[in-house]
Subunit: 407 residues, 2 copies
């Protein structure tokens, strides 16, 4: 028996592969601050559970393959407020943004075809692209340029006859980069001129910490209807990750048909979660304002505290709720395992996502980490204490170096 | 822009592709008897909604990628009653049996590798196999042999150096064939001797209408641990299709690792549905007995009524809740569309799944249909009336033939 080549090309998720070690550490009585997964601690609006509890049909039946009309309409209403008109067939409800990405990759990638993705990028993109036999062409960025990637000549230099798509996350995970209007326009133009799909993962759209960005979406550029694929989700927007409800939006008819075939094959997205998700779209704008303000505070805390740790390099992210930081350790992966197995500070330790799997280019990101600032203020403060002490202890006991005094 | 070869190799679901015509027909005021989808009308046990309503965490958070421990334990408890001991890592919770199948195909199939599947088979298998670039090698059956496929020489004659797996549905969808112990053993032996994965879709396990079959599962053969992949789901067992909760079970460690990578990439299965599904496993055996008795009555009704329609050929299915029938029409696909667009009997019409997409072999199944006997007795009786009248009217008005008098 043989495992498929494409499965072998995939890696365990850097956000989740330490889960067994975390279980062991917790069994030993350690408390772990989870900065490894984008699982916000903000409450899900009550509208979700209220709608779920209101479900009272005697049979929990399949929903429609493209999604429940009530949810499709809710999504359309939300986009209308952003100035984007969508017809019902342009929205396909999926099991989270994850399924939207997987089905998009299966629909547009053949073996050995290429997708251009700015690196560092969300590592699960690798699995979705590889599942379809595709290849990632990494668009390199630099920490000292704030990981900004929207340079026309750099993007165009990566386009080959095998290129099928450009995939961006805006606002960015893991870097927090947010594109300005001009950059978005340039990328749209490149996709259009070179006949490429432009896959925009916009699940963090509401989380931009500079007012100038507003609520960015490529969907406003109506001249790229044939190219554009929007990946969306209720997970981050409404702090409802466990609902597993997302959608893929495209005006490209051929792609709609391809996606629909895959949607039909898996029958439907969970019924009551769709009903709950539809209700989420009724929350008022104030919910977004409060969420954003809260995350901004958290970002400021984490950046401030990280900068106070000697040897840590970090840029201030402008959106989403992640940041990449370079740590003064030899190997972030090894450091993470050590934090779980060999370290605690008064019973506490911390998890992040090691940086290397966020890069396609070998050797990059080895001492970088992605930190999700998804915990409340005091937890973040304490997690940063633990991280600082962990780094110092690791440097002394494993790397055998004497750390400089804290600033 | 280009759609992928594999997406183009897939077809719309024959169970769902008429959905737009159904919407139009219903908008015109027609009532449709849905025998096209395996969506039972039996009530979902209250345990599901009770558990869902009991969920009271403030944040609807991601579940663990392999599944919530409470559900994994419930699945293990259920298998223990079947005499099968499973350790927690041998069960991966999936978004329905559908995701279990897709992830299994992605994990074991490379482009141009082959899966042997008895035909007629569940058409969505095509999409899952094609998504991974695989090829279906159909194991032919005959209506006059009751669609039985467990013939060693026929199976072995299809094995090539590219064969990766044998995929069976037991009890069978769409044929209702149930394998006896000897047949199961023989197929297990073939898989073992030829080093093939044996994917057993056993989601209809509880629905065997002859007591001699008991509750069949290949999982009882412990000598094929390396080969066996069980696909399972709460959808049919508990009449909870809309929960979208299933699982894939394997003791093959390499396959577990491959599947887990895909599970991690899509993060998790919906949280509250897993909690509801775990509760379903607490229903007593009486629930299964009553369900089975009800479906047996329905089967008897449909078979009796179909046999009374002149020109219809049908075998009595032994399990699941489907049957294949040959209709005296030129083309079941054309007939279905006509039933929706041009026909009604006192405002009623009927849907089934046209048979051709259940076959890989071209030309087969053109005048066959799959009927799901998932409606209550009186609805089935009425649906058969409508079908009989529809056939007679179609023969006269479209095929321009004079039907013989009813028996």
């Amino acid at each position: 028996m043989q495992i498929s080549i494409n499965a072998n090309r995939c890696e365990p998720s850097p956000m989740r592969k330490f889960h067994p070690f975390a279980v062991t550490a917790e069994a030993q009585g350690k408390h772990i601050y989870h900065l490894n997964i984008g699982q916000p601690d903000l409450p899900t609006p009550r509208a979700y559970l209220d709608a779920v509890r209101g479900f009272d049909e005697k049979t929990v039946a399949y929903a429609e393959s493209p999604g429940k009309p009530v949810l499709i309409d809710a999504v359309r209403g939300y986009y209308q407020k952003l100035g984007v008109d969508l017809s019902p067939n342009e929205v396909l409800i999926t099991t989270g943004g994850s399924e939207a990405l997987l089905l998009t990759c299966l629909s547009i990638l053949d073996p050995y075809t290429e997708v251009i993705i700015p690196e560092p990028y969300y590592p699960n993109y690798t699995t979705f692209v590889h599942a379809a036999g595709g290849v990632i062409r990494a668009l390199p960025t630099n920490p000292w340029e704030g990981y900004r990637y929207a340079k026309r000549e750099r993007i165009e230099s990566l386009i080959t006859k095998n290129t099928r798509a450009i995939l961006i996350t805006n606002p960015g995970n893991p870097t927090g980069v947010v594109l300005d209007e001009q950059e978005m326009r340039m990328i749209a133009d490149v996709a259009k001129e070179h006949d490429l799909f432009l896959i925009c993962d916009e699940v963090y759209r509401e989380f931009c910490y500079d007012e100038k960005f507003g609520v960015p979406t490529m969907a406003r550029f109506s001249d790229i209807d044939e190219n554009l694929v929007i990946i969306d989700s209720v997970s981050k927007r409404f702090s409802a990750c466990g609902a597993r409800v997302g959608c893929v939006i495209t005006r490209n008819r051929e792609l709609q048909q391809a996606l629909l075939k895959f949607c039909q094959s898996r029958l439907a997205v969970a019924t009551i979660d769709q009903i709950g998700a539809a209700a989420l779209y009724s929350v008022d704008q104030d919910f977004f304002r409060r969420s954003k303000a809260e995350y901004k505070r958290r970002r400021d805390t984490v950046v401030r505290r990280l900068r106070a740790i000697p040897g840590v390099v970090v840029e201030e992210p402008m959106g989403a709720f992640y940041l990449m930081a370079s740590l003064p350790v030899d190997d972030a992966d090894k450091f993470q395992r050590w934090l779980l197995e060999c370290f605690d500070d008064h019973g506490d330790t911390v998890m992040f996502a090691p940086g290397a799997p966020f890069y396609e280019t070998p050797g990059k990101g080895v001492n970088e980490v992605r930190i999700a600032y998804v915990l409340k203020q005091e937890d973040l403060e304490r997690a940063m204490d633990v991280l600082a002490k962990g780094i110092a202890c690791y440097q002394r006991s494993v790397m055998k170096v004497t750390p400089p005094a804290a600033m």
